[in-house]
């Protein structure tokens, strides 16, 4: 039991994921700054930001709306992100082998942070937050089908293996899934799904700073907002890790950990570049993008898989 608690809280759980996520968010901010002719923040800036929110800033509660739900929602988000991260990282690091069907569990757990933001923002009673929440819901409906199809295609590709461990093993004994046409298509769709799950531009309409003034997070301040930041940072690490695991060969033991880190940095670089070279889409356009084009892409990939490509 104690060892599971260690897994959950320290490694590869909450603490490890939070630190890795914070460093990745620094990497993202630094690249963004360089693209925009700016100098960028120092390495520890995400930690300063987090601890300032957690320890220094006061919590302001909305006058109307449900306070308990408003406060519990961010914790739910952190819990969901951490649990999903555990199911991804334990097989990835070769600590535990997981169980049959854990890919499906991961898929559900990954939606938990988004749902918690919706619940929290609706509990705040702010009209801008309500608009943000409705946009987040529409966004989830749009990208979730694509994401499910990507996961299903990967399961097909691995020969009906329903657990992370076997999916990674199939790639390591054979070759990475991305080394085929269908794999490349799945990777493209997967990257866009991650972009939407992380609510990065062009899919940042739920927070849309210049339209809704941070939308779903508008009423959050102090420690609850720190929890939301934490959940977002964890997601910023585990989603690229998930993509690396299911399409890019995961991690070989030993010195190959450097190779694994490079793969993660590469995926994050891609996300960062997409978010810095696009304006925000409208929610209708984003829905169309996923429901029509991305789904079509994945269906084509699935057909290709059926032909063994």
């Amino acid at each position: 039991m104690a060892v599971y608690l260690f897994y959950f809280l320290i490694f590869p759980g909450l603490l490890f994921m939070a630190v890795a996520g914070a460093l990745l968010s620094w990497y993202d901010r630094k690249i963004t700054a360089r693209v925009q002719f700016r100098k960028g923040p120092p390495l520890l800036q995400p930690f300063y930001d987090f601890f300032k929110l957690l320890l220094v800033k006061e919590t302001i509660l909305p006058k109307h709306g449900s306070r308990s739900v408003f406060l519990i929602a961010p914790l739910l988000g952190v819990f969901g992100a951490t649990m999903a991260g555990l199911f991804i990282l334990l097989p990835l690091f070769g600590i535990e082998t997981g169980f049959r069907g854990d890919v499906i569990v991961i898929f559900y757990l990954l939606t938990l942070p988004s749902f918690s933001y919706i619940i929290g923002s609706l509990a705040s009673g702010n009209p801008l937050a309500a608009v943000g929440a409705s946009r987040e819901m529409k966004l989830i409906i749009s990208y979730e089908l694509t994401f499910l199809l990507v996961v299903a295609a990967v399961i097909m590709k691995s020969g009906q293996q329903f657990d992370m461990n076997s999916i990674i093993e199939t790639q390591q004994t054979g070759r990475p899934f991305i080394g085929s046409i269908s794999g490349v298509l799945l990777f493209v769709a997967g990257v866009f799904c991650i972009q939407a799950k992380l609510a990065l531009v062009p899919f940042d309409m739920p927070e849309a700073e210049t339209e809704l003034a941070s939308g779903i997070y508008i009423e959050y301040s102090g420690p609850p907002y720190a929890m939301i930041k934490l959940a977002k940072q964890i997601m910023f690490f585990i989603l690229p890790a998930f993509l690396v695991a299911i399409l890019l060969n995961g991690m070989n033991p030993g010195i190959n950990i450097v190779w694994f880190i490079l793969k993660i940095l590469g995926v994050v670089l891609l996300l960062t570049l997409i978010r810095n070279t696009n304006p925000r889409l409208k929610i209708k356009q984003a829905s169309g993008f996923f429901l029509i084009w991305m789904n079509l892409l994945v269906v084509v990939a699935i057909v290709l898989i059926a032909f063994g490509l």
């Binding site: 963004t32 693209v35 925009q36 002719f37 700016r38 009209p127 801008l128 309500a130 608009v131 409705s134 946009r135 531009v201 062009p202 940042d204 309409m205 849309a208 700073e209 210049t210 339209e211 809704l212 003034a213 810095n276 070279t277 696009n278 304006p279 925000r280 889409l281 409208k282 929610i283 209708k284 356009q285």
Partner: protein, 401 residues
Amino acid sequence: MSRKTLIPIGPYHPLQEEPELFKLYCDGEIVRDIKWETGYNHRGIEKLSESKSYDQVFFLVERICGICSTSHPFAFANAVEEIVGVEITDRSKYIRSVIGELERIHSHLLWVGLAGHFLGYNTVFMWAWKYREPILDLFEMITGNRNSYAMFKVGGVRRDIEKSKIPAIRKEMGVIRKKLDLLTGAVMDDPVIHARTKGVGILTRQDVIDYAAVGPTARASGVDIDVRRDDPYAAYPLVNWKVITAEAGDVFAKAEVRLLEMYESASIIEQCLDALEKLEEGNIALKINEIPAGIGTGRAEAPRGEVFHFVVSDGSNSPARHKIRAPSYTNIATFKKSCIGQTIADATISLAAVDPCYCCTERMAAAYDNSSGEKILNANELIEISMKRTNEIRKSEAGHE
């Protein structure tokens, strides 16, 4: 009719740099009605102007707008020079135009950056503002200030553009063209920007005429107006340039007009520099000792549209009455046409597309009895008087025809 949600944009909101309140009455995400409240920025500029000398008023009107800070002195100088009845020297005309066009470039670059920011495209924001920096440096070299240049005075300008400074300006015009090519390419060819701005916030030609919109807002809807050409002042009749118009009237057309106008501005500046090289240095201001009694109107094409100044002089050293109309005064009224029926996402960029400047346009009117000091007319009564006068003028004009 279903219940409408009120989505407030303001008084403090990341979309707008200034405090003002837009109330979007929404049905889901669709904006059904819009109302706005301004008045957070009222500074009493017109009243202040009556207590300053003509030289001081230039510094005051320069501070009406921090971005187009030379268009108000431009219009005020035109108005006062009309009262005096002088024609300024050619050299000062060219210098005025150089300053005016440099300002247009930096103001339009600022708008392009902000529009990118409003669309969530922060890279364009940072790049456009980076490109704007050398223009501000040029201003510092020419006038000593990056903003609020203090260049104008009645009868000319305060500082000369010496021959030694001309190569640096010329070089920067070459550089800014290349940067504009890059920026224009990034904006004009990006399919996602097309998806976000084409067909959004459309103002038809008739809307523009109905609401008397001015500047790039009007030109983007195919209304070919530009004070620089229609009511020539400074060096604009002496150089070759064309008025940029577009037909679509949407946000994309407004961006297109502004981007292409910057090329025209660069070309105007280069022609003015050619002329300045030929003219002798010095002789930049006429000596004007007295402003006679009379009335004068001055117009100038600010980056956002027509600026109008009306000055009444009673022969003393300060204006007896100074009326200012900034372009945003008419432009922000077009929101009624451009925003209703759009989604919130489209409405916000439509709000920003006219490049509104609220503090420039905020005015208050009240009428006091001189002897007792009591307020005798309220706002509604003043509006009634104004409408009556307008109708009288209309009737008398109809009589002439």
